[in-house]
């Protein structure tokens, strides 16, 4: 069995490698609040720990994000999912897939891992109830073949967050 939703792994282009090295240095000097990234020798997959912001439903909860970078990053968005167990949230499916427009249609190469993390934390923080999306079971069943969330045709729940 392969790991959940692993994208086809083409090695990073030179441009992608350069850019990720810069992001890594910047992250080490100036990590976004509420996130920890254990640096490994794998530049192409980052595992990032998220700590729920104080004063929100997720305060003190910790989760893990898995960020996989495609060959042509940043011209293509990274694949970002929560590792099991994913936070209970109206935009996060139980298989870890996140319904957030900037990860798909609204990606821009000026965004970074750091800015994506901040968006995800702000999505968590603004939630008013800990529950799964209404179509969770149907969606997760459709992803059984290990489909990447980047192949989903997302119908964004709302654009408030």
């Amino acid at each position: 069995m392969s790991s959940s939703g692993a994208p086809s792994r083409k090695t990073l282009s030179k441009i992608a490698t350069n850019r990720l090295q810069k992001e890594l240095v910047e992250w080490q000097m100036n990590p976004p609040t509420g996130f920890k990234h254990k640096v490994t020798d794998n530049l192409q997959r980052w595992i990032i720990e998220v700590i729920g912001a104080p004063g929100t439903l997720y305060a003190n909860d910790t989760y893990q994000l898995q960020v996989d970078f495609p060959e042509h990053y940043p011209m293509e968005s990274p694949q970002v999912i929560f590792l099991h167990p994913a936070p209970l949230h109206p935009h996060i499916y139980s298989n870890g897939h996140i319904c957030l427009d900037i990860l798909y249609d609204s990606w821009s190469p000026a965004m970074t891992v750091s800015s994506v993390c901040i968006s995800i934390l702000s999505m968590l923080s603004s939630s008013t109830e800990k529950q799964r999306p209404t179509d969770n079971d149907r969606y997760v069943k459709n992803c059984k073949n290990g489909r990447s969330p980047k192949e989903t045709r997302w119908w964004f729940h709302d654009d408030k967050v």
């Binding site: 090295q21 810069k22 000097m29 000026a110």
Partner: protein, 278 residues
């Protein structure tokens, strides 16, 4: 500059040369180009093609000769300036080598700003600049540290002399002495700063590549990007500004000459910034 007309025979020889080159038979290619040159000595391409063969064989003196000849015939040949630059760097003539590469880069950008040649020339230029800086800065830092040692020794000697002459309490003299030593430390730290690699200021870096600008262009929204990166974005991601998300027509990108000059001035002072990601 008058570039000569090629005779049909010479053109055939050039084709032969090109075919040999593709098969990596560089000696045979050189012979063919040499014959072509004998027939039509004023065609720059024959000289630059032969130079490329010499380069493959690492015969740098001949590379230099052929490139210089080609430049005499046509002063704006990107390839001739590029290979001449590399040949001069091999001879450790850094300043002139860098100058040729810079010329090749400027010429290359004006003819095909996103071509592979431009990328390759930039890489060689950065490498050369960085290497030159390493040599110079190592010498500078050695000079500074030996000068510092000398100054410290002189201050210590002066202090000992002063204390032996006065009968007053030596405490004050000693405090003044340590203050002087600290001041000296600060002066030398300041002097070493320029050669200490730090972070390039964000306003000199592209928001897509995160690297220092090479060929900055400004979008209609007023954001500056690396030319190759923003063109790639417009082609692959969408016709919008990556930061402001306003629509962009690729023809609306214009060079940001002020930032280009600022980058040049910064690199002049902080040569280590030429070092690339890998």
């Amino acid at each position: 500059m008058v570039t000569g007309v090629a005779s049909p025979m010479a053109e055939r020889l050039k084709e032969d040369g090109n075919n040999c080159f593709k098969k990596e038979r560089f000696g045979a290619a050189i012979d063919a180009y040499t014959e072509a040159i004998a027939l039509s000595p004023n065609v720059p391409a024959y000289w630059t093609n032969r130079a490329l063969c010499h380069m493959k064989r690492k015969d740098w003196t001949k590379v230099e000769e052929d490139c210089r000849k080609a430049i005499q015939l046509v002063h704006n040949s990107v390839k001739a300036h590029y290979m001449l630059g590399l040949a001069l760097l091999q001879k450790k003539e850094y300043t002139d080598g860098v100058k040729e590469l810079q010329r090749a880069l400027d010429l290359g950008r004006s003819s095909n700003p996103t071509g592979y040649m431009v990328e390759e020339i930039w890489e060689e230029l950065s490498k050369a600049k960085y290497m030159e800086w390493e040599l110079v800065s190592a010498r500078r830092s050695w000079e500074l540290s030996s000068l510092k040692e000398t100054c410290e020794a002189a201050l210590n000697q002066q202090c000992a002399l002063d204390m032996s002459r006065t009968e007053e309490s030596s405490d004050e003299a000693y405090i003044a002495h340590t203050e002087r030593l600290k001041a000296l430390e600060r002066v030398f730290e300041k002097a070493a700063e320029e050669d200490k690699p730090t972070e390039v200021p964000g306003y000199l870096c592209c928001n897509i590549t995160l690297e220092i600008f090479r060929d900055p262009v400004i979008s209609p929204s007023g954001v500056t990007y690396e030319r190759a990166a923003i063109l790639e974005h417009l082609k692959k991601v969408g016709k919008f500004d990556p930061i402001t998300r306003e629509k962009i027509d690729p023809s609306k990108l214009v060079p940001n000459l002020a930032i280009k000059e600022a980058v040049a001035a910064y690199l002049e002072k902080h040569v280590w910034a030429y070092k690339m990601g890998c």
